[in-house]
Symmetry: C2
Subunit: 347 residues, 2 copies
């Protein structure tokens, strides 16, 4: 029997931030695909769509009229999953049926007035305005007593449940700390207490030496495929400096952040020459009033495509019942992304 | 401000088996849908398809020829995610990059020689043969030293990543206990130690009194929408008796189990008059040699459809980054499923 290695043998890898495992089956990439093939959405979008509820001057589902905004634009989600005026309350039947009311709010962050754009097609200076708005919203929400956690995210592409192609993201903010950030909070703070350093700082140090999973770096940020990546081309953008939340980024770091977002999303589009779908979001310190000294902000991109613009990875069956599984290794994915041309394929 | 109630107010519910939460936003069902619409697959399938690699007598991808089987049929997956001959080994870089080799195996369980069938269209006596095969395989795998956990599951429908419509499921068995069953093991055993009873026995007692979330029951099994359901029409089939794994079911209980599987899957098909897609799987005691006295077997069905045969719930963005969210309540879903006609819509 040969010696164990990552390229040939099934193995599990540990996500040090959540404590969960992923099953890696690198030998399985030879499997033929006879399943679902997604339809391509490649029509060129107009810069303004009279039927789009996010374009400047148009009417929204709730009846409000959008202003003639010229860069970013934010409003309260007309169909928010979380509401401010939720009454306090709960339910507990012998600790077996347990529920708690949840206060919160949901916002929509429009990235640009131009309906035809996406982050990789925007200027770095315009992405910087999106970063500025994220910072502003995070800090304002942190001030509210009933908000202890702020989730900033983007769903891009129909296949990711995005119902409007106008470039936009969302913020859901709430009283409780949801499960995934709660696990990260516990693990990051515990590591900090033991080592006096952020876990991601130490992790980055190793990755920057090995360079097997690094996609790019610039002055203040690194984009890499984490050792424990679940989605085929999952990537993480991490600040080189130990920064708890985006409110602590310097103006220069914000530029650097905008730049690396553009670089990564161009690589994604170039990979299969398509507008690459993903969910992405920022994980950062809860706004619960605790020190959270171990927190180190990072942004995760979770794109579903696996083999081509039309064949995705399905997280079903085993994944829903046991734990996630992937075929290509993190090292293979990072190399693929790193080696792509720097210019967007459509330009 | 009105008093908190489940029908109007956003709230979180606790999954007592995994310790995780789901955000419920019942007021959000009014949201319009402009997003992705799935294509319907409603063509009638033939009973035999010469190109299907699961039909009797046909050739598989690996070159093997299927026997002329007359009820169920099992074989080792030609593209297994887990392999028996994986060498031992691992990798650990300062507890930050952690990996372990993983031994295991994967099998395909064919439910019927008839290519056109699905579980709801099979006779109860034929579903019983599938149950018998699950039991046989579980017990045989439990005997193997390197197998400590056995995951039996079915992915049904293209939308659930199923690449062949021939009625079949899978078994992935391995050395480690994956994350979700590991959490259930800890919680179920802890409850048993404290109360001397199975947590699902006590939970069922409450549900059978309330009857708000019960879909059906028969002599030995209950089908219900769990209080903490994540997927819109998620359901759980639980044995009334505290049974650790399917190997302990009596022959009468196996009949009862087959019958309730048929009833539930007919209700699913009738809900949107379509062949209802889902991932389903059995959670039961690990085969790790421990007593696992708290374990109580149950089968979970996770169907993605939300509003119709073509509009599904997307678990993206907030769900991937924070925790799952649902719009319709478990009570609403249970009532819908309970009130459907008992006969399959296509007959
Ligand atoms: O084994 P299959 O049917 O080829 O593959 C399907 O089920 C597996 C187990 O649930 C998933 O990991 C795959 O993503 C899915 O496409
Ligand atoms: O809020 P939207 O874009 O209407 O909805 C989308 O994003 C939400 C948050 O990630 C998900 O819960 C929904 O399932 C998805 O369709």
């Amino acid at each position: 029997m040969s010696e164990f290695n990552f390229e040939d043998h099934p193995h599990r890898r540990l996500n040090i931030l959540t404590g969960e495992w992923v099953l890696v089956s690198p030998h399985r990439t030879k499997r033929p695909w006879q399943g679902k093939v997604e339809k391509l959405e490649l029509e060129k979008k107009p810069s303004y769509d009279p039927k789009c509820y996010l374009c400047p001057g148009n009417e929204r589902a709730g009846g409000q009229i959008n202003p003639e905004y010229s860069d970013t634009f934010v409003f309260n989600n007309d169909f928010a999953a979380l509401l401010e005026d939720t009454p306090e309350g709960g339910y507990n039947k012998k600790n077996l049926l347990v529920a708690k009311s949840e206060k919160g709010l949901a916002k929509v962050i429009v990235f640009s007035p131009d309906h035809s754009l996406t982050l990789p097609l925007m200027e770095v200076s315009d992405i910087r305005k999106v970063v500025d708005l994220w910072v502003e919203e995070y800090l304002a929400l942190a001030e509210k007593d009933f908000i202890n956690y702020v989730q900033i995210f983007e769903n891009k592409g129909e296949i990711m449940g995005c119902s409007n192609p106008h470039p936009h993201g969302q913020i859901w903010a709430q009283s409780s700390i949801p499960d995934i950030p709660a696990k990260k909070t516990a693990n990051m703070n515990a590591y900090y207490e033991e080592h006096g350093k952020s876990i991601l700082e130490d992790y980055l140090e190793i990755e920057l030496k090995k360079r097997e999973r690094i996609i790019f770096e610039n002055e203040h940020f690194v984009a890499l495929v984490p050792f424990w990546a679940v989605w085929p081309y999952e990537a993480m953008i991490v600040s080189k400096r130990h920064v708890k939340h985006i409110g602590h980024l310097s103006l220069e770091e914000r530029d650097s952040y905008a730049e690396i977002i553009k670089k990564l999303t161009i690589a994604y589009d170039n990979l299969f020459e398509t507008s690459f779908p993903y969910s992405a979001g920022i994980h950062q310190a809860p706004t619960d009033g605790n020190e959270n000294d171990g927190w180190h902000m990072h942004m995760t991109f979770m794109p579903p495509l696996l083999r081509s613009a039309t064949v995705k990875k399905f997280m079903v069956g085993y994944e829903m019942l046991a734990n996630p599984q992937r075929d290509i290794t993190a090292e293979f994915a990072a190399k693929k992304l790193r080696d792509l041309p720097e210019k967007h394929f459509s330009i």
